[in-house]
Structure formats: C-alpha cells, structure tokens
C-alpha cells in the first residue's frame, strides 16, 4: 500500500527524481499546482495516461488535502 509522506519528505523525494502527479480535475490543475507536477485526473487514470510516467522511478500523487 502506498505510503503517506509529509512536505519535507516530498521535497526531498523531488530532488531525487521522484515524479509528482496531481489527480484533481484538469481545471483545478490549471489554476494551481505544485512546481513540476503533471496532471492526470483520477477519473482518467488509465494505462494510456500513465504511459508518460517512468515506472522505475518513485511516483507521488496528491490532491487538495487528505480527503
């Protein structure tokens, strides 16, 4: 099961090449997203959309908060 990480750990992971994915609707991504994040809304999370990700590197997903 995917581990939850805090902000400090996230920043550390990003410096080490982790990939960051925002899973909110694309409109919310357009308004605001974390630097370097790519947009793959949860409703579109299929094999085609994840093809842009490198499965050999860590992936971190986020939305607005823990909800």
């Amino acid at each position: 099961m995917a581990a939850p990480i805090d902000r400090d750990r996230l920043r550390e992971m990003l410096t080490r090449g982790a990939q960051l994915v925002e899973v909110l609707p694309a409109e919310e991504y357009r308004e605001d997203h974390l630097p370097g994040a790519i947009s793959i809304p949860l409703t579109e999370l299929d094999r085609n959309r994840v093809a842009v990700l490198d499965s050999s590197r860590p992936v971190i997903v986020y939305c607005w908060d823990s909800a």
């Binding site: 099961m1 995917a2 581990a3 939850p4 990480i5 805090d6 902000r7 996230l10 992971m13 982790a18 994915v21 925002e22 899973v23 909110l24 991504y29 357009r30 308004e31 605001d32 997203h33 974390l34 630097p35 370097g36 994040a37 793959i40 949860l42 999370l45 299929d46 094999r47 994840v50 990700l53 499965s55 590197r57 860590p58 992936v59 971190i60 997903v61 986020y62 939305c63 607005w64 908060d65 823990s66 909800a67």
Partner: protein
C-alpha cells in the same frame, strides 16, 4: 482522492508509489511557490489578519474586545462556531455570546485567491469573513477593505 489514485497506480504496475496527504493546501499554506493561473496572486490566508479577537459561547458580549469591530466565536479547539459583528458587539453587554452570535458565517479557505473572495464579499455585502482550515479551525479574518486593496 490521492490514496485511491495511489492504489490505482499500483494496480497499473507502479511499485514505488507515495501520496502526499497535505496536498496543495499544505503546500500553499506553507508559503511555497505554486504554478498555474493563480500563482503569484494574493490569497485569503496571506491577506487575512491573524491577530483577531476571539471569544467563547459562554462569554458576555460586554467582555469581548471591540477593537476590530468583529470577533470570532470559537470552541476550545479553535473551530469557528459563529461571528459577532459590529451590531452584535454593540448590543446588550450582559447577553451571552451564544444567544446573539451570527451562526454559520461564510468562511473561506486560506488558499482561495483574493480576487474571488473580494467579488463574493461585495456581492453579499460582507464586511469580514473568517478564514478557516478544512477542519473548520480559525486562521484569521479577512476584511473586505483589505481584500479590495489586495485584489
């Protein structure tokens, strides 16, 4: 949403997946830079006044500070229960706060861009609005005049 996305990614063959429960809210609240259409625009949490009078439901109106013309009614955890505006603060000093407070005031989250709030406050003739976290805790109070200036 993020834990579900993480589970989905694992099903799709990703083996090193993490999720950031703090999310955009935590990131922006920490003052870290974001990208997108709203980046660089002032937000509720940065324009709001954080040093604001608070009181409890059992307090008497006469004992509540009137220095800003507004006081936020909170419980012991800081969760917003109501609001005392100028007219309530000017009422009977012996009245219990709970009996006169405005219930369920409009609140905004700290990350909301000021331009959106300024418009809402003008349309709804709100002089001030509490800014709260997603679990209802008080962050500060945003005054319409400050929102209009920062817009």
């Amino acid at each position: 949403m993020a834990p579900r996305a993480a589970a989905r990614l694992e099903l799709l063959g990703f083996t090193d997946v993490m999720h950031y429960p703090g999310g955009k809210l935590d990131w922006i609240a920490a003052g870290l830079p974001s990208e997108g259409d709203n980046a660089g625009h002032p937000r509720a949490g940065t324009v709001a006044l954080t040093d604001v009078p608070v009181c409890a439901i059992d307090d008497r109106v006469g004992d509540v500070s009137k220095r800003l013309g507004v006081a936020v009614v909170v419980d012991r955890d800081g969760v917003v229960l109501g609001l005392l505006r100028e007219k309530e603060l000017a009422g009977d000093p012996a009245a219990r706060v709970e009996d006169v407070m405005l219930l369920g005031p409009s609140t905004f989250r700290p990350y909301v861009p000021i331009k959106e709030i300024a418009r809402y406050m003008t349309e709804h003739e709100l002089e001030s609005s509490p800014i709260t976290t997603s679990d209802g805790k008080l962050v500060g109070v945003l005054f319409r005049a400050d929102a209009m200036r920062a817009e």
